[in-house]
């Protein structure tokens, strides 16, 4: 079953090229359709939050964009270029790993469980990509990493290994590690879910700062509705592998149109 690729542009051009475009993207695990013909554009500098019930496909959206998962249909574009495909003889064909690696430099990701490298210090974690992937000198990489560790308030802990850091501290280092690669798009997958309530603000404050200070495009999956409402430009409510409803935070949280959105928001508010 091969898809007709001719309806997908070879690249996106014009005045308002989105930083990220999911076009008709489908993801299946065996017979289970996790994402069904998803269309989603994210503009440069936009902060888009994804909310929705467990299993609705939120994590999968981010993982496909980070190329941790392959897709079964459609095309993902990043910064105007296809990520999942390359052009050959005027047609899009599935991308090879060299192409994927080139586009992937534009994307960074932070995980629910931090996934810091346990055998490296906080500084070592941040320097790894700049030195090994970008080819920076150790001095340049250290300078860049220290600046970021300072920004997330972790400069003092630069020489500690992750096992000696709290969850909130580890997540802040993980954010610095991702930013050290100077991505254009940052992905946050429930970055505060594994944290104790009293340290959540350490991490949300960093994200808040990023929204204000950097021209980053961000996609964030979260269960913290208050935070989503406060910092998002747009909120997407996922249900069953599709976007059920989306809009500005004010509209989605205060004036949801769809029945499922209302039910979900009520359930979440009741739980809190």
């Amino acid at each position: 079953m091969t898809e007709d690729m001719s309806r997908y542009p070879l690249r996106l051009e014009g005045d308002d090229v989105p930083m990220v475009r999911f076009q008709n993207v489908t993801k299946r695990y065996g017979p289970l359709v996790v994402l069904d013909q998803l269309d989603l554009d994210v503009s440069p500098g936009e902060m888009v939050t994804i909310i929705g019930p467990s299993g609705s496909g939120k994590t999968t959206v981010l993982r496909m964009l980070m190329t941790l998962e392959t897709i079964n249909g459609g095309v993902i574009y990043v910064d105007g270029e296809p990520l999942t495909h390359v052009e050959r003889n005027g047609q899009l064909v599935p991308a090879n790993s060299k192409h994927v690696r080139r586009i992937r430099t534009k994307i960074g990701m932070c995980f629910q469980h931090f996934n810091l490298f346990p055998h490296m210090t906080a500084l070592g974690n941040c320097m790894e990509g700049p030195v090994q992937v970008l080819g920076l000198s150790r001095r340049e990489a250290e300078e860049r990493s220290l600046e970021l560790l300072d920004m997330v308030g972790m400069a003092e802990k630069r020489d500690e290994h992750p096992s000696r850091l709290s969850g909130g501290q580890q997540q802040r280092v993980a954010i610095a590690r991702a930013l050290a690669m100077r991505p254009k798009v940052m992905l946050f997958d429930e970055v505060t879910s594994a944290l104790d309530p009293e340290v959540i603000s350490e991490v949300t404050n960093v994200i808040r700062h990023l929204v204000g200070a950097h021209h980053l495009t961000m996609l964030m999956v979260t269960h913290q509705m208050g935070f989503a409402k406060e910092i998002s430009d747009r909120v997407c409510f996922f249900y069953n592998g599709a976007i059920e409803e989306q809009g500005t935070p004010t509209k989605l949280f205060e004036n949801p149109e769809r029945e499922r959105t209302k039910q979900f928001l009520n359930a979440v508010l009741d739980a809190n």
């Binding site: 980070m66 190329t67 941790l68 690696r101 992937r104 430099t105 994307i107 960074g108 990701m109 995980f111 469980h113 996934n115 810091l116 490298f117 346990p118 055998h119 490296m120 210090t121 790894e128 990509g129 090994q132 992937v133 290994h161 096992s163 000696r164 993980a174 590690r177 991702a178 690669m181």
Partner: protein
């Protein structure tokens, strides 16, 4: 009662020292082959070529489920029928290296599988190449759980070197048997073999456990 003859021990000492050196050489050489071959065998099972994975997997199983002695005989006696004529030393090192390489590949596999999926994903998210992901992220974390298994097989390979005596490698066992045939004395030569093995194995086991702790500590895994 048979009495213990010390003068025989002193007379044989130089020959046994020489043979002990050869035993260590066989163990060290075989282990060096095994350490590298084991890595090749485990990485070959992790490519995206399914048939390669399958073939290597079956090969490892085959080696692990047949006796080392048979493999030694195979390389030395069956090899020549296929035009592969090897000296006892070469045949012995190959057999023991391949045998232990198969076992070490399983030790490595266990180590690699103990590295959480999140580590591979984090490496991908900072765009590390596959080679660097292994070298910088996975192997350093796979090593601490693997060192104890690796150490056990180092002692194991050392204790298995007598198998090479059957194809004429003049290691300790071979020497002791030769001495027995010449002098009709078996007590002293075989006791000396046992003593030498003990004198090497025990400190080696101790050093290996020290090394294991050191590896864990240097990689920052000990809390």
């Amino acid at each position: 009662m048979i009495e213990w003859r010390w003068h025989l021990v002193w007379e044989l000492a130089p020959r046994f020292t020489d043979a002990a050196g050869k035993t260590l050489l066989a163990a060290g050489g075989g282990y060096a082959i095994a350490v590298i071959l084991g890595l090749v065998l485990v990485l070959a099972q992790r490519t995206r070529f399914r048939s390669l994975t399958f073939a290597v997997r079956e090969f490892v199983e085959l080696i692990r489920s047949t006796p080392l002695l048979l493999q030694v005989f195979f390389v030395f006696y069956v090899g020549p029928q296929f035009g592969l004529v090897l000296s006892p030393w070469t045949a012995g090192l190959i057999a023991i290296g391949v045998h232990y390489g198969a076992y070490l590949s399983e030790v490595y596999r266990g180590g690699i599988e103990s590295v959480p999926a999140g580590q591979w994903e984090a490496a991908k998210a900072i765009n590390l190449s596959a080679a660097k992901t292994y070298r910088r992220i996975v192997i350093p974390q796979a090593l601490p759980p693997a060192v104890s298994g690796m150490g056990n097989y180092l002692v194991g390979i050392f204790k298995d070197t007598p198998m090479l005596s059957v194809i004429g490698v003049t290691e300790l066992m071979h020497t002791a048997t030769a001495v027995g045939a010449e002098s009709y004395r078996y007590l002293e030569p075989y006791t000396m073999v046992g003593a030498i093995f003990l004198a090497i194995s025990l400190p080696a086991a101790y050093l290996i456990s020290r090394f294991e702790k050191w590896v864990r500590r240097t990689l920052g895994m000990l809390k």
